[in-house]
């Protein structure tokens, strides 16, 4: 499968990545190779196979609805690059 430069630009934009022209060329080729291999997998007959969402074979890993407040929220707030009062401060978001 061929990956065009514009496909790489679109994915980079969704992922908030800034790529140089050279990188775009490189990734187009590499992603193309990966997808070609997917084409190989596509040759397998899966018409009678249920799509898999998970490989562990587990179901219903649930927890009961009991509150357990996290004791060190300061540790989390400290990870934010910027803070004001108890809020995390980020560049202005419109709306």
């Amino acid at each position: 499968m061929k990956i065009e430069k514009k496909d790489v630009e679109y994915i980079a934009d969704l992922s908030r990545l800034e790529l140089t022209g050279e990188e775009k060329e490189l990734y187009s080729a590499q992603l193309g190779d990966i997808l070609s291999w997917m084409d190989e997998l596509n040759k397998a007959d899966t018409s009678k196979v249920e799509p898999t969402a998970h490989i562990l074979g587990l179901e219903n890993v649930l927890r009961s609805d009991l509150p357990e407040p996290f004791p060190d929220r300061e540790a989390i707030l400290k990870l934010a690059p910027q803070r004001e009062l108890d809020f995390i401060k980020v560049p202005k978001v419109i709306e």
Binding site: L14, R16, A53, H54, L56, L58, E59, N60, V61, L62, R63, S64, D65, L66, P67, E68, P69, F70, R73, I76, L77, L79, E84, L85, D86, F87, I88, K89, V90, P91, K92, V93, I94, E95
Partner: protein
Amino acid sequence: MNNFETVIGLEVHAQLNTATKMFCPCPQADYKAGANSAICPVCTGQPGTLPAANVKAVELGVKTGLALNCRVNEISIFARKNYFYPDLPKSYQVSQFDRPLCEAGSVEIDLKPSGSKTIRVARAHLEEDAGKSLHALGSRALDYTLVDFNRCGVPLIEIVSEPDISSADEAHAYLTELKRILQWAGVSQCDMEKGELRCDVNISLKAAAVKELGQKVEIKNLNSFKAVKDAINSEIARQTAMIERGETVAQDTRLWNEKEQKTVPMRSKEMAHDYRYFPEPDLVPLRIAAARLETAKNELGELPRARKTRFMKDFGLNNYDAGVLTSDRCLSAYFEACMKEAPPSAAEGEAKAVANLITGEFFARANELKVNPEDYLSKTISPVSLVKLAALTSAGKLSASAAKTVFAGSWGTGKTPEALMGELGLAQVSDSVQIEAWAREAIAANPDAAKDFKNGNEKALGPIVGMVMKKSGGKANPRLANEAIKKILAA
């Protein structure tokens, strides 16, 4: 405007009534709690953490499905919805995509002035809420944004309707019914002021003769029923005008501007509709076993619409009274407890008298004293007393004003109406000899009125009856007093 058909679908998000978040044990913080006071490594997306689904949220999701006549899927799968926004620390929202918990349901709504309509529900799925962004602190506008993650990870059920809604009024009726069902089922408190119920509207117009729809416009984040109604009407007007000018309505995501009463385009390009959903590798599939489904069904019990129909059929209530009495689960349970106390042979009027007492006096007092509906049976007036009071009033043994006094005396005290009537000397006098004596005295005191009445002036009876009531200290049965006076004057 009549040339176009309006096609509306609603996406409703309701905050689930759990103690903790969807995938971590952080408490659901009160909306007034301090910023970032209920956060942990899981809901703030720290590397290496793993989510675990809240069993109560799953149960409430199942109840939602059952209450909305959905098929509850035996297997459902969580998926990642990817987008970048500061209120979403993981850069993806855990939701459900191609295998949601519930599908293919319906909600029956009342139309005005009469009739009903079925709105199909496409799906109802579990997901987690995002955090809150602040663009101002109090009245001070900020040139940056502040983020609070307390709401981040709070469990939501998203209910997506099919595009079966054709007007702002129908949208309003659908939301009203949905809210009643969710509250009834204990799924969500649905307090819109606290943001516990939010609504996105999808709306497009089509010329009545044309088969294909116009482009879909989405209006996001409406947080009151009124805003939904106003936004829809304003959007219908905007799109109609555009089409009539020969313009095409482009697919668009808009916001409702309350102040200017119009929708405005969302400027942010963040919400590009390419969410690259994929199965959430950190959460295994949900399997809803038959036993879990059965338990949920039993806990859900009778739904409000079914109960309303039964009240009309069993007790002869009219549509309005039955609607009010089934607006809240506890209220309907209280009414039912009352009807159990009414004698089985009770006439239809009895149920009406009980209903009137509940929707009138009972409601007024319960609201004034802010009685929690869950305390209706324990902290108000006992069903036995309420039924007795209704019976005494309709049998003419208690005047309307005396009934109010007895009602007040019985509230929260457990005193019976009979005891209070004795205590307060309020029993209505229906003894014909006594009433006739008062009537003769009253006629003698109002000779002019008596003469007028004899000459055919029906209204002249008023002052004479009034005099009987005065002489009896308000205890005379007014209907019997009326009859006695007429009989004497006719003689």
